[in-house]
Symmetry: C2
């Protein structure tokens, strides 16, 4: 069994999509058991709308809710009975293997470190979303809140990301690259120049060198290593350029009668292709390096994305990702 | 008269597009005089294909060519008779007001500093391309080679960028924002946190605060301030995501007979809309803060983009941008 605590209160769509996603997840995978964390009566009312195996879903009451705009450190400290604090507490106490939330990123990042805690030896837990590419998906590591990283952090990100892509996403010898402003080894800022030779010296990852941002959407690497400020810019610009261009295409199609007729004919094929350029079907962003697993799903997740985020926790547990991370860090320490 | 030296040898398409662009530029604006810099015989052969006012175009011989892959510092030092070194020398000697090149970015950045030289008080000359947005264009400053910038550099970038957007692009009180990972003032890495209050204290710019990368394509600010590593990532990811998505749309339209017919109907309208999401019609990227103007156009520039890059030098000279930059720096110095 894989026991997954799900934050029923987080996300733009509130409990309805979180509960629906949980119901879909337990129906899809027999080994999943979900603990829905949040206000009992609200969750109960949502559950009543579905038919599901009662043995697979339990409710854990948590009366408070952390809002997106709340300062995270304060929220985690003060709201002891919030769905995030209670859900992460279940992971801490080993009553759950993973925690999935669509709530405040800041609170999830802080809670992951403070409540769940880091694996011994992990300097910083990176948030690593999957981003869509022409060839599938790549892991962008780190997009968390810990900016101004050091080279030793980036080396750990590369190793953890590589383990995740190989064993959860099933990519053999994932290509690891560092985000840079040119392909040559001598290019880059101080951090990249310091990190590059360290990554090159790692025998347990398939380091392919620098990647320019232009090559990321073409699928130029499987694990894209960068510090969180750059990662955040990449992630958000991806969304922004995508949304703007799709908006332009739609607007362009509505400019004349001719193009409107064309749009009707093109629509189904276009929808299918653009769907392939959507990472949400792979699940949410794992916060790696913790004593347990925390997954952040998009704030605007619908039931299907919530389901995928829950399902991805199964491979994480069954493939013993944290044990592999621990082994990798110990091996690195011995080499020193 | 505005005298503009044009590197006839740079760019992926070689002399043909550079020369054609120069011919179009002098035909479009009577006050433009072009000095085509490069191998005399090659330029002569290209010019022979066009009809143009012989008083408006002269050829300045330069026998060497700097290739894109050459290490820039070395190339500038060794190839004294290259089109870039000779062209920048014309600006240095005040025989030209500006230099336009589609050649090696690295060599242009190095040459700008070493040959043309900085305006007194300018700490670093930023490379500032225009990027397309839903609402027109924004200036992304800095995308140059000088990474690991300091906060004082970013403040100068903001001022120079603001002057450029107001007086060359005609945007009144351009909105200046700093790239950040959240909208709140306390967010950011060390550099952004240090720069934010300095920008806030500037009375001569319209500072609107932080901008998240997601808002850039929506036209959230007119002048987007960042250090060069982040700027480079933004610029290249813009290109990469755009190319990938347009590729997906095209592929999607070719998947069935129905969608192929639709594509034929949609094509002209779509082409017109996507053209509006293309910054090249505004010209190239100015390298600001130099004793003269250096403009870097895309390596793959066609005649039309070369023409626009030449024409943008006219407003730069007529609006006395460098005098305005000088005044702004002196005012800032007095305030200290």
């Amino acid at each position: 069994m894989v026991r997954i605590a799900v934050d029923a209160m987080g996300g733009d769509h509130g409990p309805s999509q979180m509960v629906a996603g949980a119901v879909e997840a337990v129906a899809a995978k027999p080994q999943i058991q979900v603990l829905l964390v949040g206000q009992e009566d609200v969750i109960g009312a949502e559950l009543a709308k579905h038919t599901y195996d009662k043995e697979k879903i339990a409710v854990v009451n948590a009366t408070e809710v952390i809002a997106t705009e709340e300062p995270p450190v304060n929220a985690i400290r003060k709201k002891k009975d919030s769905s995030i604090v209670v859900g992460m507490g279940l992971v801490k106490k080993k009553e759950a293997d993973a925690f999935v939330s669509a709530g405040s990123s800041g609170a999830i990042l802080v809670g992951g470190q403070v409540i769940v805690g880091r694996i011994k030896g992990v300097e910083r837990p990176p948030l690593a979303p999957l981003i869509p590419t022409e060839k599938g998906v790549s892991l962008l590591i780190d997009c968390g809140a810990n900016v101004d990283a050091r080279s030793s952090h980036l080396v750990q990100f590369a190793k953890m990301g590589s383990i995740y892509m190989e064993h959860v996403m099933g990519i053999k010898r994932p290509r690891v690259a560092i985000v840079n402003i040119g392909a040559e080894e001598e290019k880059g800022n101080a951090l990249v120049k310091e990190t590059f030779p360290l990554l090159k010296a790692c025998t347990d990852i398939n380091f392919i060198g620098s990647i320019e941002a232009r090559e990321i959407p073409h699928g130029g690497a499987d694990v894209i290593v960068c510090e969180a400020f750059v990662g955040n810019v990449i992630l958000k610009l991806y969304e922004g350029v995508g949304a703007t261009l799709i908006g332009c295409v739609k607007k362009g199609m509505m400019t004349s009668l001719r193009s409107k007729i064309g749009a009707l004919l093109v629509k189904p094929a276009l929808k299918a292709t653009l769907k392939s350029f959507d990472a949400s079907r792979y699940g949410g962003a794992p916060l790696l390096g913790l004593n347990g697993l925390v997954v952040k799903t998009h704030g605007n997740s619908k039931a299907n994305e919530v389901k995928n985020s829950i399902i991805q926790c199964v491979a994480f547990k069954e493939q013993q990702i944290n044990e592999k991370i621990r082994d990798s860090l110990e091996a690195a320490k011995k080499e020193e």
